[in-house]
């Protein structure tokens, strides 16, 4: 293979990947609207292009397989064959197969694949024998890793010496990263820029804004305030723009859901109308990438546990087809994604029963309806008696909650028995900027995330109860909460200054007060990574640069104090036990 040929092959793989992104969607639409001529034309052209180009660059197997699919699509295009569900299923399998081949070829341009069965299936349909596909698409999509691995191994063992087969088997065991490894290349109007370079740009622009404010105060004295202000406006615009470069639409994360819904509903024999709203809503790229798995999980749950079977729905006086709506919109500095279903809702009393049986809550504990519903976020909680094939794979809603919280977001649930449930994910628009509170403690200026602070109260000496050798506590509206002093952990000097103010932080139903000297102001700050020297210090979320150009630490109060509290409670119980 000469260099040009290798380059061409890689070009093709990238272009094909880009084409494939839209085709799955098209196949799903075809299923709903089997005689849509424009759609069929577009799909046919996709197969046609894929075949022609793959052959031209020397990927014979893709050409072979795609040729079969093209023939079938031509029949559909010429209205000789009607695109039934079964046919669309086979075409979806074809779509999966091509994607698998592209992944494989990207790692090894000489990779060989097993597509015999699929080619036979396609041929059979054309020949008028409606043979059922061997693997149902639903099953295939739930555990694609395993299938890919087995097939790839079995074929390669014919082609490659043993040693290499082992190496390749290892490679095939790392399927997750493939999905994100290569973004489809966009048309000429867009440009791929590394996130690193964007970060450098953001750093420089942040610095520009600071220097501008210095210039503004200097120029103001010489009567050139107007010029300085227009410079300031310009700088702010540039900053907004450079921040926005990290933003991408949530659309691609949503698109995956259509396939999940199709396969899950087929497997469970339920009818689902998936409605996607707000696909253009933008979010930070890093956040968007971590959004896929939680969304898929919630959707599967909604179909499996939420929606009833068609018979049950009719009996309940509902339309046969269930509705799952996924809606994205901005709310302040958050992206909100709401997943609503019109199913049977979450049965709180059943959850309580279950939680008691599992010893998650004591028998004596009374829960409100809402508290009961929120039990589904509890670790190790699966609502179905038998772990279902669809949602119950050991991954519970608690994992969803943890994932979202790690992104600085939160998950809420509302549910009404008989009418459905709504999950609300709130995610920060960007990980790069947070709303912060600039505070003072122990002679040190620090930033804390505003979102962690529930309320701020003025501390009076007599509010706090001190006990020798124990954590001081205070009474906040009839609840006893522990009191910490930020100075002890993050003051630079023991100033002996009074803690005049307490920030109330709440985590997992536990509130605590954190005493500080003063609150300076609230401001948005750009989060920068901690330097290596402070990386392992407890409670450091990152660093930032304040308006005057000085660096400051961002302290993660929840991380710092929930851990501390747990340690102290453990020590206490040990003391008591002894």
């Amino acid at each position: 293979m000469d260099d040009f040929e290798i380059e061409l092959k890689h070009d093709f793989l990238q272009e094909a990947r880009e084409l494939l992104q839209n085709t799955e969607q098209s196949f799903l639409e075809l299923e709903k609207d089997p005689s849509n001529k424009t759609l069929i034309d577009a799909i046919f052209r996709f197969a046609h292009n894929l075949k022609g180009t793959s052959r031209a660059v020397g990927f014979g197997q893709i050409a072979e397989l795609t040729h079969r699919a093209e023939n079938l699509l031509l029949e559909i295009k010429q209205e000789k064959i009607f695109a039934t569900d079964l046919i669309v299923s086979t075409l979806l399998l074809f779509n999966d197969k091509v994607r698998e081949m592209i992944d494989g070829l990207e790692e090894n341009l000489d990779a060989v694949f097993d597509c015999e069965q699929l080619m036979k299936d396609l041929d059979a349909i054309i020949a008028g024998e409606a043979a059922a596909p061997v693997a149902t698409p639903a099953a295939a999509s739930f555990e694609p890793e395993v299938e890919v691995e087995v097939e790839a191994k079995s074929v390669e063992s014919f082609e490659e010496p043993q040693v290499e087969t082992v190496a390749q088997a290892v490679v095939h065991k790392l399927p997750e990263k493939k999905e994100v490894k290569k973004e489809p290349r966009k048309d000429d109007e867009t440009l791929r820029v590394s996130l690193n370079r964007l970060e450098v740009l953001n750093n420089l622009v942040g610095e520009l804004v600071i220097i501008q404010s210095v210039v503004e105060s200097a120029l103001g004295k010489s009567g050139e305030l107007k010029t300085a202000r227009s410079l300031g406006k310009l700088c702010k615009d540039i900053q907004d723009l450079s921040m926005s470069l990290r933003m991408v639409p949530v659309g691609p994360s949503f698109q995956k859901l259509a396939r999940i819904v199709r396969d899950t509903s087929k497997l469970l024999n339920k009818k689902v109308d998936l409605r996607l709203i707000g696909e253009d809503t933008e979010i930070d790229k890093t956040v968007a990438e971590s959004l896929g798995d939680p969304l898929v999980h919630i959707i599967r749950n909604a179909i499996d546990h939420g929606l009833e079977t068609p018979a049950e729905r009719i009996a309940a006086g509902k339309p046969e087809e269930g509705v799952v709506e996924v809606m994205a919109f901005h709310e302040g500095n958050f992206l909100v994604i709401q997943i609503t279903d019109d199913g049977k809702g979450i049965n709180g009393s059943k959850l309580i029963e279950k939680a008691r049986a599992k010893g998650i809550i004591p028998d004596s504990m009374n829960l409100t309806e809402q508290q009961a519903i929120e039990l589904i976020f509890h670790a190790g909680f699966s609502t179905k008696e038998v772990v279902s094939e669809v949602s119950g794979r050991g991954v519970g809603m608690d994992v969803v909650k943890t994932n979202i919280e790690q992104l600085g977001g939160e998950v809420k649930v509302r549910s009404k028995l008989g009418s459905g449930s709504c999950f609300r994910l709130m995610l920060p628009l960007t990980l790069a900027i947070i709303d912060g509170m600039l505070i003072k403690a122990g002679g040190q200026q620090l930033v804390v995330p505003k979102g962690q602070v529930q309320e701020v109260i003025r501390l009076e000496e007599n509010m706090i109860t001190q006990m020798t050798g124990r954590r001081p506590y205070m009474n906040l509206r009839n609840t006893i909460i522990p009191v910490f002093y930020l100075e002890e952990d993050w003051g630079s000097v023991a100033t002996g200054e009074k803690a005049n103010i307490a920030m109330i932080v709440r985590h997992n139903d536990q509130s605590f007060a954190i005493g500080i000297t003063d609150i300076m102001r609230q401001q948005q700050v750009v989060v920068k990574p901690p330097t290596k020297e402070i990386l392992n210090k407890q409670g450091v979320m990152g660093t930032t640069i304040l308006g005057d150009g000085k660096p400051s630490l961002i302290i993660d109060l929840i991380n710092l104090y929930s851990r501390k509290l747990r340690q102290e409670m453990n020590n206490d119980s040990m003391v008591q036990a002894a």
């Binding site: 942040g206 122990g442 993050w490 330097t531 020297e533 660093t543 930032t544 150009g549 660096p551």
Partner: protein, 159 residues
């Protein structure tokens, strides 16, 4: 960078370039390519409860980095005159670290034959000395900033 390249191409390839500086009364040197820039000591933001040799954080054109007092880390008594103090910004594979030194001496061009290995001693902490530079009848220790700044244990260099 252009200047480096020109020098590299025109001069003898067996010459290495170093930045010589003083810690207390002693001369040390580092490979010039590891040095991003040299700045006058800026105001630092203290890091509470950090190791004593960590001076704090600074903002270098939008990048937050740590400044370290190498003298404290190596147990060297600082010189009397602080007016010549400088901070060397090291570029250590993807991360920047600032180091306070007593003063910057000069750039050294050292023939490779004048770079001697470290005498095999049982003294601890010689790991971050890459060699000894012989020049103008002086001896200068060639430090490896990466092993010095990536390691966390305080080390002793001074004899």
């Amino acid at each position: 960078m252009d200047m480096f390249n020109k020098d590299k191409n025109s001069s003898n390839m067996e010459t290495k370039r170093f930045l010589e500086f003083k810690l207390g009364d002693e001369s040390y040197a580092v490979g010039l390519l590891k040095v991003r820039e040299v700045i006058t000591p800026p105001e630092v933001t203290a890091i509470p409860k950090a190791q004593p040799y960590v001076c704090g954080l600074i903002n270098l054109r939008g990048t937050v980095l740590t400044v370290i007092d190498l003298r404290k880390k190596l147990g060297i008594r600082p010189g009397q005159d602080a007016s010549q103090n400088a901070v060397i910004i090291f570029d250590l594979d993807e991360r920047l670290v600032g180091v306070v030194v007593d003063s910057i001496q000069k750039v050294l061009n050292i023939d490779e034959t004048k770079i001697k290995p470290v005498p095999d001693s049982d003294g601890q902490g010689m790991a971050h000395i890459l060699g000894i530079l012989h020049h103008e009848e002086k001896l200068t220790m060639w430090l490896d900033p990466k092993s010095l700044l990536d390691g966390s244990a305080p080390l002793k260099v001074a004899a």
